[in-house]
């Protein structure tokens, strides 16, 4: 069925957005995880997606789109230093290292991933509706 390839394209997009949501949730979960030193603090992760080569034919596009085109990389952001002298991980200056997670950016990532996932679902539903309409040809 030729709709199978279309479904797989949408599935690849959904998998990418799901990965983005997972990574964002991981960053948010480790947002307040302090570390004994600034080197050991959690590094925020980021999903980097590689564009599928759209210049090739559709058949090759279908073949390439079935594989995951996303990789998770560590973001090299400076740790957030907070003045907490009573904290067990406080250094000589009384500063504690927290991960440099950008809360606002993570929330925006969350919403972007959600909307992109919805768009993929909508595209898949459109393909399914089109296939169902094709089956209506010649029906009573």
């Amino acid at each position: 069925m030729d709709y199978h390839a279309l479904f797989q394209v949408s599935a690849a997009g959904m998998a990418t957005e799901k990965l983005r949501l997972d990574v964002t949730a991981l960053n948010l979960a480790n947002m307040h995880a302090a570390a004994p030193s600034a080197n050991q603090v959690y590094k925020p992760q980021r999903v980097v997606t590689q564009a599928v080569n759209f210049g090739t034919q559709f058949g090759r596009l279908y073949g390439a789109a079935t594989g995951a085109q996303a990789v998770v990389v560590q973001q090299d952001s400076a740790p957030r230093m907070v003045y907490e002298p009573g904290h067990p991980y406080a250094n000589a200056q009384g500063m504690v290292a927290y991960p440099g997670v950008d809360h606002v950016a993570e929330m925006v990532n969350l919403n972007t991933a959600l909307r992109a996932y919805e768009a993929n679902v909508t595209a898949m539903n459109a393909a399914r509706t089109m296939a169902a309409r094709a089956l209506d040809i010649g029906g009573q």
Binding site: Y3, A11, K18, R128, L135, G139
Partner: protein
């Protein structure tokens, strides 16, 4: 008064065999229409069974991701609808033949 039963041998010419009225045997049963329908049924059944096993895996807390399971369910539903439409067309053709005036 006795009624003689009508026998076919009295109507038919002496040399004709009744066996010629029987449907001709299928020439190639392996690649005939029946095999085509059976293959289609098996393919649809395979997609249904696959989707069912994936639903079980997800219900048990593992297996593929949720959207893949839903997509496979949709594919199974589409293939089943295709099978149902083929069956409707075949039945329509059969009933059309049965309504034919002879």
């Amino acid at each position: 008064m006795s009624i003689d039963p009508v026998s076919l041998s009295a109507i038919l010419p002496a040399g004709e065999q009744l066996g010629t009225l029987a449907p001709a045997p299928l020439q190639q049963p392996a690649s005939g229409f029946g095999a085509l329908v059976t293959d289609g049924l098996n393919a649809v059944n395979a997609t249904l069974v696959k989707a069912d096993s994936e639903v079980r895996q997800v219900a048990l807390g593992g297996g593929p991701s949720l959207h893949e399971v839903m997509i496979h369910l949709e594919e199974a539903r589409l293939s089943f609808q295709l099978l149902a439409q083929v069956r409707n067309r075949l039945l329509d053709a059969y009933q059309e033949v049965m309504r034919m005036q002879v």
